[in-house]
Amino acid sequence: MASSLAPLVLIILRRQESYGYQIIQELREKSGGQMAVAEGTLYPVLKKMEAKKWVEGVWKKADSGRERRYYKLTSNGTQELEQQYSQLNFVSQLIHKLWNLPLSTSSNL
């Protein structure tokens, strides 16, 4: 699950910078609560993306006085996202086409 998180997180960060809990909330909401992932595993994913310079993390203090680490997409990250997006789209269309092929019956053979 963790590996498929990366493109999803990049897509969320494309719109605005965000922090871990907010990203998880968005995933949970948009997936209709179907996204069953240990929330904490998001952070190693973010960290890996930060090491690859796809995102940039900064500690910021919220109004409540609580510190949160905000992540935003870098230009590298935008490029990476575009690549992954077209790749995933390609795979998804291919899966769709293959899935919709008629099932073979013995008469076809």
Binding site: E39, V45, R68
Partner: protein, 193 residues
């Protein structure tokens, strides 16, 4: 109904501390996970749960220490390595410097006793009592071994660089002897350990 004795900050610290003890997350990771637990607990409280219930669910959603340690160890390979090297350096420094420091002090003590009392009954008595005290001290250290190792472990976890630097200090303590005025045997004692 009894009043709730639940303390959110302490519970969060405990839970994150537990994950931290597995040795694959940094201070910054721990702060990030703590912030997540607080946010998650808050939002569940807003939905009508008690603080304790909210905290339990937030932890469950965050994931247990096995999952998190496994995922973090893929990105934080150096945390564990740094810890091992810190222990090696601290261990070498302490095993090397503390015994030599101890021998130096003992030498100075014997010399002082000898200069004042020469080889009389008093000096024998003083040295015997000193030996007894040292024996008790060794037993005391042995009894406190848990506290000592926990202290070092905590220091390595929370501020590795500081404890490694501090462990070099005993090497330089003998230099302080030069500063003590009127210490006639300084040069001899320093030359002999």
């Amino acid at each position: 109904m009894e009043p709730s004795t639940f303390n959110l900050k302490q519970s969060v610290d405990n839970y994150i501390g537990f994950i931290k003890n597995q040795g694959s997350i940094t201070n910054s990771d721990a702060a990030e996970l703590s912030a997540h637990l607080y946010d998650a607990t808050d939002s569940l409280i807003n939905r009508g749960l008690s603080e304790e219930e909210a905290f339990i669910i937030a932890c469950k959603r965050l994931g247990n220490e096995d999952v998190l340690t496994q995922e973090y160890s893929k990105v934080n390979a150096s945390v564990k390595m740094n810890g091992i090297w810190a222990y090696l350096i601290i261990g070498f420094n302490l095993c090397y410097s503390l015994p030599s420091l101890f021998l130096l002090c003992v030498g100075m003590f014997y010399l002082t006793v000898y200069t004042i009392y020469s080889s009389s009954i008093e000096s024998t008595l003083i040295v015997t009592i000193f030996h007894l005290l040292v024996t008790f001290f060794v037993f005391y250290i042995a009894r406190k071994k848990n506290e000592i190792s926990q202290f070092i472990e905590k220091q390595v976890q929370y501020n590795t660089l500081r404890i490694v630097c501090l462990s070099f200090i005993p090497f330089f303590l003998p230099l302080l002897l030069i500063l003590i005025p009127g210490l006639r045997f300084t040069k001899r004692a320093l030359a002999s350990p």
